[in-house]
Symmetry: C2
Subunit: 339 residues, 2 copies
């Protein structure tokens, strides 16, 4: 920068002003500065700016996994917003581990991210309550977090599961099983609660299986149930992984859908409209979740620390029950682009 100043016959301060448009500079002078910057191929050093106590123009994003299309698309949307605001996105994964989450979040703080967007690994007793994190705005999505000031973006988990279950009941099913892969996950719990409410509302027993953690586990379970003649006539899958597992298992065991077993999944899966049968799902607005989270973060970033509200905003996005054939419905519904 000193070189630029020298070449342009000005002080470093003038260069700084030109760069940041922070004050009026004589047009002539500015021109010389621009010229000098061009000649010297000068690029400002972000690290120095950050150190100077200013903004780092970066945000941190922390998701369980990028291999999950849901989180990948959220990250994609967030990045779009960040890009539009001229910010960088530091992205990393927690693998659902609170320790990793904490360590990574800490690490991002040291990097001076101005804000954090994350999928909390646990909704309660989060270690992110630490004093340190008070400096920056945080947005949680997919899963809430018990820190008052944090904004949350969620979807209608209970409501969606309830409607799906009711739909299955409407098809005459009484033996409907809920399939989850992790009893500790908020989304699983919320969706299970919706399922439970729908079942008990009509006096049906709730039947939950929460260890569907792999293709094999699901196949095994199904095989066992069938062996005992206790195969449910309908399933509700708590997320897209389980839906995929179940579809494969059903196929492998030659169980016809929806005749022998109906199913509805939570979260759209690719090609759901091309499978045989086509898949009925509760669709969440994936792209909106990411976009909204990012927008809310940047809104907070515009506020000074003092004027940030005590209590965070909590948005709950609506979900849609996309009726196709796996639930037992006859009519096909025309294809609509997801996300």
């Amino acid at each position: 920068m000193a070189d630029v100043a020298r070449l342009a016959n000005v002080g470093t301060m003038t260069v700084s002003r030109v760069l940041n448009h922070s004050a009026h500079v004589n047009a002539e002078t500015a021109k010389r500065v621009y010229w000098a910057m061009e000649v010297l191929q000068y690029r400002p050093n972000e690290a120095a700016r950050t150190l100077r106590g200013l903004k780092s123009r970066s945000i941190g994003v922390l998701v369980p996994s990028l291999a999950d299309p849901f989180f990948a698309i959220c990250a994609h949307s967030i990045n779009l917003v960040a890009q539009a605001n001229g910010y960088s996105m530091i992205l990393t994964t927690s693998h659902g581990d609170p320790e990793v989450e904490y360590a990574q979040a800490q690490w991002m703080l040291q990097r001076h991210v101005e804000g954090l967007i994350l999928v909390p690994t646990q909704s309660q007793n989060s270690r992110l309550q630490d004093r340190h994190f008070d400096r920056i705005p945080i947005v949680a999505f997919d899963t809430p977090i018990d820190i008052k000031r944090v904004d949350c973006v969620l979807v209608e988990n209970q409501e969606g599961a309830l409607r799906a279950t009711q739909h299955l009941i409407g098809h005459g099913h009484t033996n409907i099983q809920f399939l989850g892969n992790d009893a500790g996950l908020y989304t699983i719990q919320a969706r299970m609660e919706g399922y439970r409410r729908a079942m008990s509302a009509v006096g049906l027993p709730a039947l939950a299986k929460l260890d569907c953690t792999s293709q094999e586990a699901v196949t095994q379970e199904l095989r066992a149930a069938r062996g005992q003649g206790k195969l449910p006539t309908a399933f509700f899958c708590a997320n897209n992984w389980i839906t995929k597992f179940l579809m494969r298992s059903l196929f492998e065991l030659g169980i016809r859908v929806p005749d022998q077993a109906a199913l509805i999944g939570f979260d759209e899966v690719e090609m759901a409209d091309l499978l045989q049968p086509t898949l009925t799902v509760v669709r969440q607005p994936i792209g909106d979740v990411g976009t909204l989270s990012a927008s809310m973060l940047f809104d907070s970033l515009k506020l000074s620390p003092q004027e940030r509200p005590e209590e965070g905003i909590r948005k709950v996005l609506t979900v849609d029950l996309i009726l196709r054939a796996s639930c037992g419905c006859k009519q096909a519904v025309p294809y609509r682009q997801s996300t």
Copy 2:
């Protein structure tokens, strides 16, 4: 840091030494320092370290899109390697636009990333040849780049397409169409070349359609071809998007696969083994592409700028033809986990 030093009754330098294990410090003293750091909840400032001319412990990753499962999974693998090395990953998208790519790469440089992993938007005349970028190691994946020094991680595009086309020919097809969505993309070109070679080797005419950019476009095209009675009897889809488009179009138009039209796609798609018919594809080792790219970058990072080779390494990963039913093969092949 000064506070820590004061509380521990030492100089700032000693604190620094303890932090970086850069020199022997009396065990007693070190203990006091650790204690003080704990009490004050001290965290080193990465920006200052970076400014001081040291390493930023971050890498930049630049992909066309995170909404594409292929790139998302690559990013995931890269992140895993970065995490293992204690590095942050700054991730952003180029949308396939060379201008955006250049701007974003530049921006990452200003952030002092130590290295760059990217999917080049164009393999020739890349603006990344700029002097600036000589400071850091670069790894290109999926698409090569015409800069001698950069490492590349590719897959057998030509070979895979060739084998797939040969397979279709083996099924007796003579009217096989190649479907692409962007004639400017390296991967499309390479796969088309493989297709072309296979066709011309047996004296068959190459038939390429390169504007399959949307669901509608594909359906339109198919409808038109059928109207003229010139529907190909087999298709080779250059990537997973096109495969999905084609499958839907075929389904919508009621064209039976593989009886009326056979197809093979490049790159695995989710649930390919559950579609009717199951999908024959050329599978690329997605996870390996990301992992290898990241490993190569970190290998370069271990070298000093002087000892970095003039010429980059070029790795080409093998692909597999996964035979299922859409090509016309009868036997089902058991499910194997992708990625």
